[in-house]
Each structure stands twice: as structure tokens, then as C-alpha cells.
């Protein structure tokens, strides 16, 4: 049961990761590429972590998985906002 859950969620995660990369390559300008990166990429990592939680070997691992996700969300949010502002300056 846990394994089926893991396979489904990690497959979905891979889909979002690949979508993020494709967006990063295909989107026409800096700000839409930023959109592809932060939306798809962190949904990818989130689903991956959710899927791997079923495989965790204990509470400590579970906690570290959650911590990784929270840290990645904070990092992606802050980095996206700051890089977007800097890119705005580039165009001016």
C-alpha cells in the first residue's frame, strides 16, 4: 500500500520536475521562466517528499523530510522574488 502511494506520488513529482525544466528552456522571457521554475519545481519536490514519507525509517527521518520541504519552499519564495526584482532592473 505504502509502495503504491510512493510510486504514484514520485511519478507525479518527476512529471513536475521535467515540466519545470521544459518551462525553463521553452518560455520566452526571464519572468515567465521564473514562473516555470518556482511553481513546477517546488511542487515537484513537495510531491517527491510526500511520496518518500511512506518509505521513511522513523520519526527522525520523517521530520527531516518535512524540514527539507519547508526550507526549500522558503528558499524558492525568497529567491524568486529577489531575482525577479533584479531582472526588472536589468530591463530598465
Amino acid at each position: 500500500m505504502g509502495d503504491v502511494f510512493s510510486v504514484i506520488l514520485t511519478s507525479a513529482a518527476l512529471l513536475f520536475y521535467v515540466a519545470g525544466t521544459v518551462g525553463l528552456i521553452r518560455f520566452p522571457d526571464t519572468h515567465s521562466r521564473l514562473h516555470a521554475l518556482t511553481k513546477a519545481d517546488n511542487l515537484g519536490l513537495g510531491l517527491l517528499i510526500l511520496g518518500l514519507m511512506a518509505q521513511a525509517d522513523g520519526w527522525v527521518t520523517l521530520g527531516k523530510l518535512l524540514l527539507t520541504w519547508v526550507l526549500a519552499l522558503i528558499a524558492a519564495g525568497a529567491a524568486a522574488q529577489l531575482v525577479a526584482r533584479t531582472a526588472l532592473g536589468d530591463r530598465r
Binding site: 514520485t10 520536475y17 525544466t21 526571464t30 521564473l34 521554475l37 517528499i49 518518500l52 527531516k64 526584482r85
Partner: protein, 94 residues
Amino acid sequence: MSGWFMFLATVLLLSLAGALWRVWSGPSQADRMMAAQLVGTGGVGVVLLLAAAGDWAMIDVAVVLALLAAFAAVAFVKAQTPQGAGDPEDDADG
């Protein structure tokens, strides 16, 4: 199960080649920085998959990578402001 995770890790790693291409072709510095950010998040994913496939002790590396994921981007945006000491959100520096 660990075979499946290694397969996912391999495909995920391969997809990061796209990010490498974006670092190469730019065109703006922000584009290159973003692509590095994608490799960082992808790297966290690969570490977690390796940990699930092999040894959960590897997970500390994922925590450290996620913790420091935005530090390069912060240093980058700081470096774009006058003398590297301002804030891109500050209109005087933007």
C-alpha cells in the same frame, strides 16, 4: 523499490541537463542564476531519492542543500546593487 528510486534519480539528474543549457545560453544573468536554483532543488530531489534507495543517513545532505538553496541567489541580488551593499527591493537601488 530501490530500483524504482534509482530510475527516478537518473531521469531527474538527466533533466537537469536542461538547466545546464540555460546556464550556458542565458541570456540575462538572472536566467543563469535561476537555472542554478533549479539544479539546487533538483539536487535535493536526487539526494532524497538516493537516500530512499540506499541509506537514510544521506538525508542530512538534502537538509543542508535546502537550507543553503537561496544563499547564492541572495548573494547575486546583493551584488547587483551599488557597492553590493543595497537591496533590490529598495527603489534607490533598483
